[in-house]
């Protein structure tokens, strides 16, 4: 096992990437609060805040919706700052070129994300820009998780070798499909939030008292698509978990995130229902956004680990010997 670089630096960079990813979850939660409290335009200018430099805006003026919007901008700036440090650190110390480029991608994403956030304020929250802002937030979160994983000592020591007979759909493919489905579902969720379609179908579990609602508007279509997406994602997660619980339960690097993902999706479904039942109360609605990000992050982690583990395919009649 050859070390890529000094052990101390290695752990430090990994921990810093982990910290950045954790702060990103918090940032997504705060961003969700801005939308849930409808505070997105309470600060009408950007990058200034009511004409002040955003970093010198007086604390006494953080009132009403400004608290959420300005708070979001500051947390975002902090995450941006962390990403700059992460990128510099990675470029200086990391020997794997692709990891360096991954950190540069994270930096580019966070800069673009900041610009999109500003544009959505200046153009008064147009749905395409706001939705893109929400989707890029999830993409950036995925990049920080990937960086945290790839810089971890465990990843660089090499993940365990798994011996399995050939499967019609490999574990790697199944995990990737699940992650893709979750990402698509988050895009639908963002579209629903930013087109104000969250209550387009006001009842749950039925839709206007029926299983299939009358598609009277685009908002109903978007909302119903998100509900159908939830069913598909939940099924994919159960399928993935079942596969891992049955064949890979000895590998805690797979089993733990699979179990976490299963628990998170149950919480997420409950929060989705609560969002409708409480007519988009701030707490469940915002928690629904943040938990969605956590489901995606966990699934991505599982997928990357599944690809990182070397799977040796053996014939079926050798199975008993494994």
């Amino acid at each position: 096992m050859s070390s890529v670089y000094e052990e101390g630096e290695n752990v430090g960079l990994h921990r810093f990437a982990l910290f950045t990813a954790s702060c990103t979850v918090f940032l997504i939660f705060v961003g969700g609060l801005v939308t849930s409290t409808e505070s997105g335009l309470s600060v009408p200018d950007w990058p200034t805040t009511y004409g002040w430099n955003m970093f010198t805006f007086p604390l006494s003026k953080w009132v009403g919706g400004i608290f959420y919007e300005h708070g979001h901008r500051l947390v975002a700036s902090f995450v941006g700052f962390l990403t700059v440090i992460l990128a510099i650190w990675t470029w200086l110390k990391e020997k794997r070129r692709w990891v360096r480029w991954l950190s540069a991608s994270a930096l580019a994403a966070v800069i673009l994300q900041g610009v999109l956030g500003g544009l959505t304020v200046l153009f008064l929250l147009p749905a395409p820009i706001s939705t893109l802002h929400a989707c890029l937030a999830q993409t950036f979160f995925c990049l920080t998780i990937s960086l945290a994983l790839f810089t971890s000592p465990g990843w660089k020591r090499g993940l365990p070798v798994i011996k399995r007979e050939a499967e019609s759909i490999s574990l790697q493919t199944l995990c990737a499909m699940t992650t893709g489905a979750i990402y698509l579902q988050l895009i639908l969720g963002a579209l629903m939030r930013h087109t104000n379609a969250g209550l387009a179908i006001p009842d749950f579990p039925l839709a206007f008292g029926r299983i299939i609602p009358p598609f009277t508007s685009d908002k109903v279509v978007i909302h119903f698509a998100h509900r159908m997406g939830a069913v598909i994602v939940a099924a994919m997660i159960v399928w993935t978990f079942s596969r891992i619980a049955r064949f890979y339960s000895d590998y805690r690097l797979l089993y733990r995130p699979a179990m976490t993902m299963l628990v998170l999706v149950c919480i997420q479904l409950t929060l989705g229902a609560l969002t409708v039942w409480t007519a988009k109360a701030v707490t469940p609605t915002t928690a629904h956004v943040a938990t969605g990000a956590l489901v995606l992050g966990t699934s991505l982690l599982l997928t990357l680990r599944a690809y990182g583990m070397v799977v040796v395919k053996v014939p079926a009649n050798f199975r008993g010997a494994l």
């Binding site: 009408p44 430099n53 009403g64 919706g65």
Partner: protein
């Protein structure tokens, strides 16, 4: 190699910091120019010598207005007692206030744009007036009399969107709406309870019901479709015909349990 990288990253940081810096908080913003003319190129506006007046009556027990929670801003909270609820349904002497009354079929004419400004004031975290009308391209003065920040956000669909911050007490902004829009909702995103409605017309035949639900419209002679619009109960329409220097009574009745109409 490392020096070049550090230089590149430092440049990005400096650029971000520079972009985030701004001047003071006392700018005045206006809508972009390019406004449409106030009216079509018809003949000169006829003399409005007839009077249509009446009462917007309210039947039933007024529904309670939504309570206002101002604790998110200490300044506003000091005035919370003055405005414990929204002003959605305001009834006095059996009449409904804040109803916009206007005609749907004004004579085809070129109506001069008033040069005098209409004013909306943000005072004690409350819009005054709550409902008002104005003409297209007429100046609208927006004043902040509060020692707290407000943003005034017009949710326009037929006019350019408008969202301006007023962080300083006594700050005044001026804007114009080039297109007819009825209603044009206004909201403060900082203080969610603050809302107002504007009726923007290319003609001068519009007003808002006052205390007791009374109103008066000055019109040229003719037959008109008169509309009464309320933010909760929607529209009602009646026809009226008036002669030069004539008078007509025209009353509307909104019921407490009636469903809103478009």
């Amino acid at each position: 190699m490392h020096k070049r990288l550090l230089f590149a990253f430092s440049s990005i940081l400096l650029l971000l910091l520079a972009v985030s810096c701004g001047g003071g908080g006392d700018k005045t913003t206006e809508l972009p120019p390019g406004a449409a003319p106030a009216a079509g190129g018809g003949p000169a506006a006829p003399n409005a010598t007839a009077t249509v007046s009446g009462k917007i009556a309210f039947e039933g027990t007024p529904p309670p207005n939504e309570k206002v929670q101002m604790s998110s801003d200490p300044y506003c909270n000091m005035h919370a007692k003055d405005y414990p609820t929204l002003e959605t349904v305001k009834v006095s002497d059996g009449g409904l206030e804040n109803v916009i009354i206007y005609i749907n079929n004004p004579p085809n004419a070129t109506y001069p744009t008033p040069t005098s400004a209409v004013e909306i004031n943000q005072e004690n975290c409350h819009y005054s007036p709550h409902v008002f009308t104005m003409q297209t391209n007429q100046p609208l003065k927006i004043k902040n009399s509060d020692a707290t920040l407000h943003n005034i956000h017009a949710f326009a669909e037929k006019n350019p969107q408008y969202n301006v911050g007023q962080p300083v007490k006594d700050m005044v902004n001026e804007t114009k709406f080039p297109n007819e829009e009825m209603p044009l909702p206004v909201r403060c995103d900082v203080h969610k309870w603050m809302g107002a409605f504007i009726g923007v017309f290319h003609h001068p035949y519009h007003t808002v019901s006052k205390g007791g639900g009374s109103y008066e419209l000055k019109l040229p002679a003719g037959k008109y479709e008169v509309v009464a619009w309320h933010e909760k109960y929607g529209k009602q329409t009646q026809m009226v015909e008036v002669m030069d220097n004539g008078k007509a009574d025209l009353n509307f009745t909104f019921k407490a349990d009636s469903k809103p109409t478009d």
